[in-house]
């Protein structure tokens, strides 16, 4: 049997293939071009409206959770979406175009990175401070009394990766105390560090005092002397890509205001 001539059919199919690929590419480019709107800006003379997205350091999880609720109570027309992760992770996301209106970092170094990348509108404002504490299991089974014990051989000391603010704070505190401690793991954020200790996998870690408080009965804290407690400074800023700058500014004012400071204080944060 003679083979069927497929030339016209084949070239027609090829044409459709090319059209499909081109359409697909066009669709992708078009989608990239359009920006997704996350919130509406406030009109003149009216209160803040719409929604805002707040990117905040992991250590702010509990405090910002309550702050968000309190803010929504105070401004019923605004809804707050929070995203918690290591400050360094959030900074990277913002630089890659993540839709944050506000960025609250656990250190000024990370905030500076975001400023240098041109992603901050105006000046960052410091809204809280924190102190460091040693986190151990309830009952302190390893009998840790101070930073020096973290260098004991066989003690499972865990910390965060150096890019994460607490990772650097912990290293600086240890250096100030002249202690060499080898971590068994570099976690991605402070809450992962806390989990390693509260779950019993690691013996000790240096975390924020607020994290020790937040862990409640699942962990104990051991104070670090003031001379070596480097302390943490938390700046917050409006992003250049903020879709709802009006409501975002209202949030920043709320957090830095009396009510905000009161709530932060209850979680163990210090005044700016």
């Amino acid at each position: 049997m003679r083979p069927q001539s497929t030339a016209p059919a084949a070239s027609a199919r090829r044409r459709w293939f090319v059209v499909a690929v081109l359409l697909g590419a066009l669709g992708v480019v078009a989608a990239c071009g359009s920006s997704t709107s996350t919130g509406s800006d406030a009109g003149p003379g009216s209160g803040p409206r719409g929604s805002i997205t707040v990117f905040a350091a992991a250590s702010l999880t509990e405090a910002f959770g309550e702050l968000a609720e309190a803010f929504e109570d105070a401004e019923p027309d605004v809804s707050v979406t929070t995203s918690f992760a290591a400050s360094s992770t959030l900074a990277r996301q913002i630089q890659e175009g993540a839709p944050a209106d506000v960025f609250a970092s656990a250190d000024e170094v990370t905030m500076q990175q975001v400023v240098d990348a041109g992603e901050v509108r105006g000046e960052p404002v410091v809204f809280a401070t924190n102190s460091l504490e040693i986190l151990v299991a309830p009952g302190n089974p390893e009998g840790i009394t101070g930073l020096a014990d973290l260098g004991s051989p066989g003690l499972l000391y865990v910390t965060a990766a150096p890019e994460v603010p607490i990772g650097t704070y912990a290293t600086r505190a240890l250096r100030a105390a002249g202690v060499e401690a080898d971590p068994v793991s570099l976690e991605v954020d402070v809450k992962a560090v806390v989990t390693k200790v509260t779950s019993g996998e690691a013996d000790a870690a240096i975390v924020y005092a607020t994290d020790v408080a937040a862990a409640g009965g699942r962990a104990e804290g051991i104070a670090i002397p003031e001379e070596v407690d480097v302390g943490a400074t938390y700046p917050m800023a409006l992003t250049t890509g903020a879709a709802n700058p009006g409501a975002a500014r209202a949030w920043i004012d709320f957090v830095t205001g009396l009510r905000g400071r009161e709530i932060l204080g209850r979680y163990g944060f210090g005044a700016p």
Binding site: W16, A25, S88, L186, S199
Partner: protein, 257 residues
Amino acid sequence: MLALAGLAVLFFALPFLGLLWRVPWSDAWELLTRRSSLDALRLSLITSLAATVVALVLGVPLAWVLARVGFPGRGLVRALCVLSMVLPPVVGGVALFAAFGRRGLVGGPLYDWFGIRLTFTTLGVVIAETFVSMPFLVLSVEAGLRGLDRRPEEAARTLGASRWYAFRRVTLPAVRPAVAAGAVLAWARALGEFGATITFAGNLPGRTQTTPLAVYLALQTDTGQALVLSLVLIVVSFVVLLALRDRWLGGDPAATR
């Protein structure tokens, strides 16, 4: 049909093209040969190979039992053994934690009585990788075994061969393509494992920081390094999949050898 297929190809190709486009080629060699990169790549290679070996040693017998031995609840056992394939890896990590952590079901006694700790160790990485990759091997080998013509095997048995001899000299060679394909898939899966590794084994350069973990952390500081390491993983996996040709698409029946 072709049009949709074309879109699908585009969907897969674009991320890799994007990666190629963003890799800082001028710094690539320096980024690749950096200590942290080499440590991560070497650790990934060692642990993924070890995981594949474990998967072979445990997975081939398991596949054989699932394919050949009818027992009540076989479907349940099979589902259990491939469960980790569909679980989000971090969930697998949490489960491993609960079983083999210092306060775990098995890990607790191991630690309290023998002082053996599995978390934060390279062995822990191998365990995590094996957990997520073995199902690929089991499924591939089981499919291969099921598709086999039993007659040569039966002939060998009637001629006096023991079960083990028949398995080793008749069955295994016949199912070799499926074993190879399954092993390669398991290896590739082990190589790319992140969630279970970081949850169970932690992250320490040189000991537990495999390449996917290094990429994740490098993303925050040195995107160039993250891109270069990602590219290495992609190229390696791509070459391996290409080399397999189509053999990993379902079991390879002996008849088509």
